[in-house]
Symmetry: C2
Subunit: 361 residues, 2 copies
């Protein structure tokens, strides 16, 4: 167990935005909400997966919806508390721990608001090892863990509890409710025992890894080093492309932020172009018409100058960026994992090729 306060949250937000592969919402907003909670209620106890008792009742807390809307509709901390408490009430048992559903701008830090305000420990873990756009896209699904009972709340005072026959049905119902709520909702879902978490239903150590990545960027930057190179090294990633953003086409569709981004190469990539296709997160990177990296591997866009991660909503014409590809959690590379989050699920008729195989060192 260790305490996480304002300073650690700075690093966690940056690192989680790297692992978030462009999605999971605005890391700045997530950080502010979490830091405010920590200032008011004191630092959060973060425990490792190994430290969680078998009979613990672990309930992840998160936000759902199109992050583009979230930027305009700033969530209040209380809303996520409402969804979290409602789930405990519905199940007739107070959650003993919370954790992160995904690594990403908002959802890596959202559970810190819950943990701080309710004075419960947060488990250093997440459900994806990255961010993904749909609810069933979580390692826990492969471990037979149900996403429901799940609670959803909006900022107006509406709420819902759903109970579904599988996690794809959860996604379906929660998505339309979220659209009704105005494209954003606060959620609590995947209630688990400590035993399930320890058996691998969630990925251990993701928040600690995010913190490490954030610190690496900060320290390398301060030492006038190469933060992108440091992150590539730490994640066993590959540098895919460097250049300037020349086009960003966005649309919000059925509660998702969809976009296509075009980058014109510079330096060693001069004369080439890279297209990123996005559904909340980066799905594929297409270099000169050929897919060079795809889900479930992580496609990360970083500021060419300072190595800071750039979310899909921040991307603008003129940004000078470096795009890297990093290996996903091993669970995702199994047949079952690829059925859930592989390129074919997202409509790309290609086999998944690990980024390290495509670009051997």
């Amino acid at each position: 167990m260790r305490l996480v306060g304002e300073a650690e949250l700075e690093d966690i937000a940056v690192g989680a935005a790297i692992l978030g592969t462009g999605g999971g919402g605005d890391p700045y907003i997530g950080k502010l909400l979490a830091q405010e909670a920590v200032r008011r209620y004191g630092p959060v106890q973060m425990v490792t997966v190994d430290e969680v008792p078998d009979d613990a009742f672990v309930v992840p807390s998160a936000m759902m919806g199109a992050p583009t809307v979230m930027i305009e509709k700033l969530p209040r901390g209380t809303e996520v508390i409402n969804a979290f408490k409602a789930l405990g009430g519905y199940m007739g048992r107070e959650p003993t721990h919370t954790t992160s559903i995904e690594a990403g701008g908002l959802n890596s830090t959202t559970p810190f608001v819950v943990a701080a305000q309710l004075g419960i420990p947060l488990v250093d873990a997440d459900g994806m090892g990255r961010a993904f756009p749909e609810i069933q896209m979580i390692v826990a699904t492969m471990h037979g863990v149900s996403a429901t009972p799940m609670t959803l709340a909006d900022e107006k005072g509406n709420s819902a509890v759903i109970d579904t026959i599988d996690n794809s049905w959860t996604e379906r119902l929660a998505r339309t409710l979220t659209v009704d709520f105005g494209a954003t909702s606060m959620i609590a879902l995947y209630p688990m025992t400590g035993k399930q978490v320890k058996a691998g239903a969630f990925i251990a150590g993701t928040i600690g890894l995010a913190e490490e990545l954030g610190r690496l960027v900060r320290e390398t930057r301060a030492a006038h080093g190469d933060p992108v190179g440091a992150v590539v090294e730490r994640l066993n990633a590959r540098r895919l492309f460097g250049g300037k953003v020349v086009d960003v086409a966005r649309r919000t569709e059925a509660g998702w932020a969809k976009a296509e981004v075009r980058i014109e190469g510079s330096g060693e990539d001069a004369g080439s172009s890279l297209v990123l296709q996005i559904q909340n997160e980066h799905l594929v990177a297409i270099r000169n018409g050929e897919i060079v990296c795809s889900v479930p591997d992580l496609i990360v866009v970083m500021d060419a100058e300072n190595g800071g991660p750039i979310t899909t909503e921040e991307l603008r014409y003129g940004f000078r960026v470096v795009v890297i590809g990093a290996p996903c959690a091993p669970d995702w590379r199994t047949e079952e994992g690829l059925a859930l989050v592989g390129p074919r699920y997202f409509g790309y008729d290609i086999d998944f090729v690990p980024v390290e195989e495509r670009f051997p060192r």
Copy 2:
């Protein structure tokens, strides 16, 4: 208190289909489900509103969705029990009574399934005195009764509990969930105390009235009398039009069955035409381009031969029909009532005129 068995259900189904103004689903299916339940579990105790104890916990049970879909997706009795029990579980109190949300083909008899199977009494009442397409369109809304907590269940095993800030939000969330469920769901909503029911939140005696109307049609028919005339007399209604159905245009839209029906006049109406516009129920009757009857008054289509009510889904080319207009419950003619269910709510830019005023005797 009196017992309602198979024979009474025959009459109730016919009478409720009259009050249902074309909507509320197939009376034949509703009757079959209720009769099967009564055969298996014994007759249902029907109590008057006055007989309900103040501290009773009354929970209406119903089906929601496009009745056109319901015809293909025959509901099982167990589904409505699931929604009903889930609401009791959520609220931590077993319902003591059930009742009908509306008078209509399915929803006047659906609660008999619940009452029979759970062995609880059914209150002789309904929330509308007719059928209406949306959840908030219920006298209880004007009495400040919340539609939530509300539970929804589908036939696959999915369910939801919603809690909303007002009854229009309930309609919105329940409608999209119902569309997700495949356009039909089983619901329990508007949990009330006996005291609220007695204070007029529900309309007393609707099921008894339905039974009386059904018996009237049956007996007048047997005596070779005029069943349509008998119903017109009993309801202080007006005969609006007689003729042959020449066109029926249907579409299922956002979980509603919408339609427009054209009737060519015969006999005293020869040379004229009547158009019915429908959203689950008949909304307006337009004679030669002029609205002659509108919501909230009841527009009822009856078989010209035998006086049986015809639902909007049964209407076919060639049917010889009589259309009558009947006064709605007085609550609906108040300013508040008309704001909820008046013609303007449904997009018709006209003032409501009571059918008795339009056609004085």
